[in-house]
């Protein structure tokens, strides 16, 4: 699915990823934890192709193709999905229209015919119910006036509709109460299968109680310093990052 080798990336003149290696096979869930400033969000942005996140060295292979050379929309069309930590609000563009364009752009790439308005509406309503958002959220502007939790659920709704191959969840649990956390986790779990892989970026073990990871990686100073199974996350939760020789407060990468 994804093979990241010796990835170095910078934002402006600041090196953030410093030789990151990560291999993800189909169907696997990888959790990435690490102190603030370790480069977790940068990894998500870099993989998504965000402007300003410059790959300096290394390679990223996504299902046999060089991800680094693709435009942002190509990556999405080939099945990469990033659930944002802070999704933007776009008043005037309805959630429904946005998601329909998006679903059909991805269907077109995969050689499928676009969904009709009625077909899309049916799928959107089902996804909306699944993440427990009221149906009028489909008509509202993209994330316009949504609470933090509603924005996160809206991201998961998009993930459900877009059926990506690799989902990167960037702190999809931050700012959520327990009920919303369960909604998000259930949404993710409903999409887990043999083919779909996940990178779950989080600060807290709490989310991993609901979304059980196959692997847990600790990211610090722009590289993965330790990998393990779910037990590693529990150890971090209990002891902080100190046992790895890391300060669990601010790390200046």
């Amino acid at each position: 699915m994804l093979n990241v080798k010796n990835l170095h990336a910078r934002v402006e003149d600041k090196s953030i990823l410093n030789g990151l290696n990560l291999t993800i096979k189909p169907g696997e869930v990888h959790a990435i934890m690490g102190p603030n400033g370790a480069g977790k969000s940068t990894l998500g942005y870099t993989l998504s192709g965000r402007e300003g996140y410059q790959v300096e060295q290394g390679s990223v292979d996504f299902n046999g193709e060089n991800l680094v050379d693709m435009t942002i929309e190509e990556r999405a069309r080939k099945g990469l999905f990033l659930a944002f930590q802070y999704p933007v609000e776009i008043p005037g563009v309805s959630n429904m229209e946005f998601m329909k364009e998006s679903v059909n752009a991805i269907r077109e790439q995969q050689g499928e015919s676009p969904l009709s308005a009625a077909e899309f509406l049916k799928a959107a309503k089902a996804a909306c119910k699944q993440v427990q958002l009221p149906l009028d959220f489909l008509k509202r502007g993209v994330n316009e006036g949504f609470s933090g939790g509603e924005k996160k659920r809206n991201e998961i709704m998009q993930m459900i509709l877009l059926k990506p191959k690799l989902c990167i969840l960037d702190e999809s649990d931050s700012g959520l109460d327990v009920d919303a956390l369960q909604v998000v986790a259930n949404g993710v779990n409903s999409q887990r299968d043999q083919q779909r892989s996940f990178i779950v970026i989080t600060h807290y073990q709490r989310l991993l109680d609901y979304i059980e990871p196959d692997f847990v990686h600790i990211l610090a100073h722009g590289e993965i310093v330790k990998s393990g199974d779910a037990e590693l996350a529990k150890k971090v939760e209990k002891e902080g990052y100190a046992f790895l020789g890391l300060d669990d407060k601010e790390v200046n990468a």
């Binding site: 435009t71 005037g92 364009e101």
Partner: protein, 423 residues
């Protein structure tokens, strides 16, 4: 004195008809008027050079009736269509089946009763300082008189289309008298892309409790020179909702005046200009709150691409006795290119001491984060830009009540935004 204006004055033939006294007066004013230049405040950012250099062709091509029909009709609107090509009416008005209470005639064969209603409109809402309004007073031999009788709710939209083709220099006037308690929906649409120079002015009187949903589609492009105005007098409790959708051309100017002549009148004015290539569009709006308890909400948004140039001047003038006025004016602009230009000036002039007013203007570029978000969901850059452009003005287009008009516009604007894309 300017040659173009001289030509107008020399060519003015004030025939002896019911409009002669008004035309004569305007001609006198015109003779004493100064040709505007860049030092004139109202023309500071708009050059009249294109008009000064325009060559009149008296044999303007009149074969474009069909193209006017094709461009003009709006699917599903089921409107009463009134079509003018190069200032000449193409619709047989007498054969139209009109709803009860709606009267339409042209200038030439207006019955006396219609003439009287029109005289109560002509030059009542259009201020005398509009030089090209005076030109129109003198030159517009063709025009429409529309009156709606008291308390009549005319459900069928009235769609006035004017098309100008190569070499045309016609002048058209529309006078609308909406009696007390009556309601109407009127759409005015102008188009033409060939080299032509036209004036088009419409005036409305909304009597007590009258309601008007008005749309002005200023869709002249390319070489067309189009100078127009829409002017409204609102009496007690009258309600006006007006939406302007404008493209630009080598010289395109629209003046809107709303006069609160009665108390508790309500004006909602939404205007959108979408400029491509090296188009120019100049919108001047003036809201006169002469009476107490009036409300005005004016929202103007522009998307300016490539080397286009937008001018907006919005003035709200609150007179000394217009207490309890609520007025707000907002102009937001989205610049799609570094070469585009916006000159915006919102103005508030307040002489009453118990009013609530606000005004503001912004010019910004497209938000990179918004684009990234849409891209990250597989949407192409050009489609994402269209979506964001449309999103920027959607709220104002949504203000239009007529669904068929709204649907038609949305399709039209999507196509428009594709042509505006700056590569």
């Amino acid at each position: 004195m300017n040659p173009w204006l001289n030509q107008v004055i020399d060519g003015a033939q004030i025939s002896n008809d019911w409009l002669s006294p008004i035309r004569e007066q305007s001609l006198q004013t015109l003779k004493n008027s100064q040709w505007p230049n860049r030092r004139s405040e109202r023309w500071k950012y708009t050059s009249l050079t294109a008009l000064e250099n325009f060559n009149t062709n008296n044999n303007a091509n009149n074969n474009s009736v069909n193209s006017a029909l094709a461009v003009g009709s709006i699917n599903g609107l089921n409107a009463i269509e009134l079509i003018f090509v190069n200032g000449k009416c193409q619709t047989n008005i007498k054969q139209l089946t009109l709803p009860n209470g709606l009267n339409i005639s042209d200038f030439r064969d207006a019955p006396i009763a219609q003439q009287d209603k029109a005289k109560a409109v002509f030059n009542h809402s259009k201020p005398a300082h509009h030089l090209f309004g005076l030109v129109n007073d003198v030159m517009a031999n063709e025009g429409l008189l529309i009156s709606i009788d008291e308390n009549c709710d005319i459900q069928t939209p009235i769609h006035i289309i004017h098309h100008n083709s190569e070499g045309d220099d016609s002048h058209l006037r529309v006078l609308v008298n909406i009696a007390a308690g009556a309601k109407a929906t009127i759409i005015e649409q102008g188009h033409g892309e060939s080299s032509s120079a036209n004036t088009y002015f419409s005036e409305y009187v909304l009597d007590k409790n009258a309601e008007l949903e008005h749309t002005y589609l200023a869709m002249h492009t390319h070489l067309a020179i189009h100078i127009s105005g829409c002017h409204f007098n609102l009496y007690d409790h009258a309600k006006l909702k007006s939406t302007v959708i404008a493209y630009g051309s080598q010289l395109s100017r629209l003046d809107i005046d709303v006069n609160h002549c009665g108390e508790h009148a309500d004006a909602k004015l939404n205007a959108v200009y979408l400029l491509a290539e090296s188009e120019h569009f100049d919108l001047h709006t003036t809201i006169e709150h002469a009476m107490p308890n009036g409300t005005t909400e004016e929202n103007v948004r522009g998307v300016v691409g490539d080397k286009a140039k937008a001018v907006f001047n919005g003035r709200i003038h609150i007179h000394r006795n217009a207490q309890k006025t609520l007025a707000q004016l907002n102009n937001r602009n989205l610049l799609l290119s570094r070469r585009g230009q916006v000159n915006t000036k919102p103005e508030l002039e307040i002489y009453a001491d118990d009013v609530q007013c606000a005004h503001g203007a912004t010019v910004a570029e497209m938000n990179e984060e918004d684009l990234y978000y849409l891209n990250s969901r597989g949407i192409s850059l050009s489609k994402a830009k269209v979506m964001l452009n449309l999103g920027f003005i959607q709220e104002l287009v949504n203000g239009i009540s007529n669904q068929a008009l709204k649907d038609w516009l949305e399709q039209l604007l999507r196509t428009r935004f594709l042509t505006m894309e700056v590569k």
